[in-house]
Amino acid sequence: MSKGKGDKAAEIRRLMATEGPAIEKNTKGFNRKRQEAVADLENYEELRTRVREIKEDAIDRLPELLEQLRTAVEENGGNLYIADDADDANRYIRDVAADHDAESVVKSKSMTTEELEVNDALAEDGVDVVETDLGEWVVQVAGETPSHLIAPAIHRSQESIAQLFKEHFDPEDPPETADELTTFAREKLGERIRDADIGMTGANFITADSGTMAIVTSEGNARKCAVTPDTHIAVSGVEKVIPSTDDLSPFLELLARSGTGQDLTAYVSMLTPPVDSPTLDFDDDETPLSERDSDREFHLVLIDNGRMAMREDDQLRETLYCIRCGQCANSCANFQHVGGHAFGGETYSGGIGTGWEAGIEGLDTAAEFNDFCTGCSRCVNGCPTKIDIPWINTVVRDRINRGKEPEGYDFLVEGLTPDEEPGGLDLDKRLFGNFETLAKLGSATAPVSNWIADTGPARWALERVAGVDARRDLPEFQRETLVDWFEKRVSTVSDPTREVVLYPDVYTNHVQVERGKAAVRVLEALGVSVRVPPMRSSGRAPLSQGMVATAEEHAHDVYGSLAEHLDAGRDVVVIEPSDLAMFDREYERFLPDASVERLQENSYEIMEYVYGLLENGADADTLRAGDGHDVAYHAHCQQRTLGLEAHTVAVLEDLGYDVLTSDVECCGMAGSFGYKDTYYELSMDVGDDLAEQFSTTEARDRTVVASGTSCLEQLDALLARPATHPVELIAP
């Protein structure tokens, strides 16, 4: 059941306060180490391409690979069971336990067994299951669920673990330091492993050619669980099968790097079970290891649980390429502040969690946390298998929208929503998704619209009906749009070097008109002939709300308006980075290849374009020089993903500005996200990291500059001094 919005905001507030600090420290640490580790790797992109190819091929040929794997496992003397769903898998595992009269099972961390809830299933038969990964054990002792794919107890501080152990075990000499806690855990768990009847592990990769499983761990607990008890059950999803052992190394080289920033974790077990290792009975002081038997039993349980259907689903298929590194969680500003207990479903969390939960649990579960992905795209370049995670989140959001029944109130906004969406769509989504219409109306009736919007009753109604948080300042619509202003204007360029179409995005056209004017002045000063024709919005606003059909309609219209300009050899210059990102990424989903390629090849972010002009000999003296002026610059998240932050910095530095840049992933505003009353406080909490960076002794007197509309609004809310777009800084 979906929670009320007030409940959800309260839950987010609680998690930000209790779990947020530990999560933020740990995820940011992982993220920083990942960036360093991949920067050191010469063939990083090559490895990503390779693993992507292997996964595409493996998922494509999955039924065939599963048959090949069955042959290999059975020839080795093991058993392979492919379970339809959790109940089926649990039934099989319970049968194995019953056959062995097993009383205890030791387990190494496996998200797939979390998906099965196998511990509960075994407990029904009186089988005691103990987690041996130290983090997972903490979670088990606390009666919690993992809050991160690879670091289950990431939400807990050392102090809280010490407190937990003290309360739960009441030891004579309570452990406190990390060393003491580890020793305490190792001793407790060592006894359990020694006496267990069955060892259970996951498997990170399984090779069809030899039946070899690769299990990645740093503690060594998976090794102990796999070889200490006589019976080993490995549980995994069917999607973990790859064709050959020859394919393993690129995955291993990327997995730990992407997750924790380590080159490799301490141990990669490559087991081709049943293994030859002798069985261990630590009471035996008579028989040397070489003379003990190695009569071992091995069961590989692979679970479908919706995966084979995801394979047939053109949008969700990519989710199956996920190798569970956790990078999308670590690099996500929202995740850094709330963790997987908010940004997660029944089992899986973080950016890719939505795809998993939609595929294996259903849309209701995915709907609980899908909105935490703001599409900032900071996870995209770090995904080892190049999954377009924001797109999966958008598609799932669209499906959630479409699954809804109308709830009433709709008549209120029907006139404002000329979209392609079904009637049940949430009103807040519908309002933000149709921001273009709102902006047109707002400009046409400004300043009256701004006065009305700012009155108490209007703000109350906006919050009550559409969930727009009353604590946020609303955008102030300008009576004269950029397009109107430009129409009345005479060009100052007589002998142009180039011709451009300046894309009048909805914010620049209706709200941030000054940055549009500044862009025109800069381009003309550099000898470029500019046109600003009226055009539809890019579709970013509806896309963010999961209104994919509406966004697609915008894409067709925008391309239609630009095609003639592209034919005439004009460049397209975009001010709003999120719109350029839309052309660069999402339009590939909507437009024919040839169209999108032409658009991508000829469109530029404004400062990127200025950089290019200056590099090609345009006269920088026509722009406003910095003369050592100190600025603090925050690049837009999508602009950074596109690799365009450096151009702005280079232009500013060339012009003599002293530039300090922020390194937080996202400002926290993220389009409509920060306006929504459910997420307002999280948005501000994320934003505080940026505010902190720009309030240090070194930064506090600098002029604040930001590329995106959202970033500018967020910075205005966070800081006492105003923020401006870099193009306004340099405009003559």
Partner: protein, 170 residues
């Protein structure tokens, strides 16, 4: 004791081990027993080495499980070294190389200098053939066992807290 070498693969391996905090001692077949005797902590156990070397008396070769549980040091062969990561490939064998490398606090892998390969793909290529043909299992071990789950990095979670590589120059 680092020995200078002109072989780039070996010097890469030495550097990677140093970065991991793993000690490396190079020795010869003749000096092996004496060298190992200085390295191990008592009680020490080991599994038979596929090299032409003798174990010192301080190491109990082919121990019982109970002796393994009491041991402070475990000595096992390594099939390959991976130079750029400082990893060793530990084959899983019927005489217990896997538990001997895993349970004691100090693990001493022994490998031939000529078995140090430049990178992981090459090591896994060789492993793959053995996995397909002989059902081989192996562990790629890189440094000691570690955990960060208790608030900061701690060595020696479930596995060894220290690794000391012995490399045989032949």
């Amino acid at each position: 004791m680092a020995t200078t070498t002109t072989n780039p693969t070996l010097s890469t391996f030495e550097e990677a081990l140093a970065d991991l905090g793993v000690e490396l001692t190079r020795t010869t077949v003749d000096d092996f027993a004496a060298t190992l005797d200085d390295i191990v902590r008592d009680p020490a156990v080991g599994v038979a080495l596929p090299f032409d070397v003798e174990y010192p008396d301080s190491v109990t070769v082919d121990p019982t499980p109970a002796a393994l549980e009491r041991a402070e040091t475990g000595v096992t062969p390594a099939s390959f070294g991976v130079a750029n990561y400082g990893s060793v490939l530990l084959p899983s064998t019927a005489d217990g190389a896997e538990p001997v490398s895993l349970y004691p606090k100090l693990h001493v892998p022994v490998l031939r200098a000529s078995d140090v390969l430049p990178d992981l793909p090459e090591a896994l290529d060789r492993f793959g053939d053995a996995a397909r043909d002989e059902d081989l299992s192996a562990i790629v071990a890189t440094g000691p066992s570690a955990t960060a789950d208790m608030g900061k990095l701690v060595l020696g979670a479930h596995g060894p807290e220290a690794v000391h590589v012995v490399m045989l120059d032949e």
